[in-house]
Symmetry: C2
């Protein structure tokens, strides 16, 4: 399908095309997860906290920002995007929100795309408010309030497609994407996401009923159909854990044009080597996300945290680029 069918995206190309260009330019499909833990920051970051007369939240947020900037400067060149985990910033209150905005600004200035990982989802008016926060902001009687300017955001689909639409609209207006949770990387994901569905009774009676996650994948496929750019990739993607590579081929079949964000590489046990099916529609079809295995690389390899992070991100980059050739 041609890009002519895509919704208007202001002055920007649709997300799939933007991502494709970024991946080609940077020769990377690695997403740098930013999950800053104030108790596990790189040592240099502590200097940015300032003296103890400042409130703890401000000190912690300054240190977190410094850590993220250093991490982006070190590992970013081997990556195509960053993925800030919103929870890690939110727990630092208002200073945390400032640190998040500045982290995003810094990443964008380095040419990295930004995937805001908040897994939001709510009824229409609330979803619209979240989307304003994550993407382009909102106009108020008090003037224009900026959004975080993310290029994509993770969204929880449990509440149904009417709750996803506001995210798609807000993202689409600025060439952004929405990544729906389909099969997550955590151990307990199976409990609900793998439940077999019975809406085809014959299938169910035969015992080969499709699980809930496949229904979520089908939803992603349907939502993406009208939103495929020149690149062959849609504005609607999916989160599929790198920890469940056995589901990747089926996931790809159900979502032929979706960008698959693949978290769980490294600390959670996922291996880049197992992710080949994600790249079927092209090199930008899969995004390999790693957080602690990059920021904490020095803990196992020793040496300078920045050097270790750079090396680990580059190792992942070469691996992913290799299997997606």
């Amino acid at each position: 399908m041609s890009a002519g069918g895509s919704p208007p995206t202001g002055d920007r190309q649709p997300f799939g095309d933007r991502l494709s260009e970024h991946v080609a330019q940077r020769e990377s499909q690695v997403v740098l997860g930013l999950d800053p833990d104030p108790a596990a920051l790189w040592p240099q970051a502590h200097e940015a906290a300032g003296d103890t007369s400042r409130p703890p939240a401000q000190r912690a947020a300054s240190a977190v920002l410094s850590h993220c900037v250093s991490l982006i400067d070190a590992a970013g060149p081997a990556c195509v995007a960053v993925k800030p985990q919103l929870a890690c910033f939110e727990r630092l209150g208002a200073p945390g929100r400032e640190a998040l905005a500045e982290t995003i600004e810094h990443a964008s200035a380095q040419g990295l795309l930004v995937i805001a990982d908040g897994k939001r989802g709510d009824i229409d008016v609330s979803a619209r408010a979240y989307a304003q926060s994550l993407f382009g902001g909102l106009d108020t009687p008090f003037g224009e309030v900026p959004g975080l300017g993310a290029d994509a955001a993770t969204v929880n689909p449990l509440m149904g497609r009417d709750t996803i639409a506001p995210f798609l609209e807000a993202a689409g207006r600025r060439g952004g994407g929405v990544l729906l949770l389909v099969r997550t990387s955590n151990r307990g994901a199976a409990e609900l996401q793998d439940l077999p569905l019975a809406d085809d009774p014959a299938e169910a009676a035969r015992g080969d009923a499709a699980p809930l996650w496949e229904r979520l994948a089908t939803l992603v496929g349907e939502l993406g159909e009208d939103r495929v750019g020149h690149s062959g990739l849609a504005d609607v993607g999916a989160v599929v854990g790198a920890t469940v590579p056995e589901h990747l081929r089926r996931a790809r079949a159900l979502m032929p044009s979706a960008v698959l964000l693949l978290p769980g590489v490294g600390a959670q046990g996922g291996r880049v080597e197992d992710l080949a099916p994600a790249f079927a529609p092209g090199r930008a079809g899969g995004l390999v996300s790693a957080s602690r295995s990059i920021s904490g690389a020095h803990l196992s390899s020793g040496g300078d945290p920045a050097d270790a992070a750079r090396a680990e991100a580059e190792r992942l980059r070469v691996l992913a680029w290799g299997i997606s050739a």
Copy 2:
């Protein structure tokens, strides 16, 4: 089951008991939803924005705070709790987070419980970070960073029980509760939440397979089993839309000790008169949540916004108290 089996809650009683006492004391089961829209604030709130030299986000957040304080002062006396919609504050950036914290502080000072409505859900470490943000904060090398101090929070269960546990832990430590999405109030909720499950093939073949939302309800029931206080109510509750009263009796059977948060009264079409089954375990078994129908009551009734909000909240209070007798 006696409270002896409940987890430790610091110096506080478990959530179910705290809620029961609040409901009895205030003779109310009404939850005041706080969904402030900068474009639809009460007129007086605009004065708090200050002059135009302030950044728009700060002006909007000051006005939103003033609106919420006025709304709480007017309608709060007829309510047992407030339910801030986090999205509405987040979209105002760091000043929005400050306004949220001050709104919560004001509501707590008026003796109202606070239900943080953010519908969060994420893998364990991230869920822990969200829980720190919503409940008691976190200890960092830079000092203690306070949380929002909510009494309860809404949580999205799609990722499974390992992602719910960190919320239960953080809430439980301070006598707080967790309210899991079970059957939401939006029109599109049926799409996924009503999907029939096939894990009992015989049932599926007969065409009477239980839907996903019943499985979510069963999960709430299981998680709550060990967390029931003297009041007969558990720390784990559920969100069940007041827009689907036909499901209430079944929901109550699957979650005999759960606090049911019932959003969707008013603007979304739910009617208090239909909610009786929620109150089976006692008057605090159901919480009737209304937002726009209270804050915007003057739009249909005319008159002063505060007077109209007070009257509408009181009307709901009397209705709910009556049917739960």
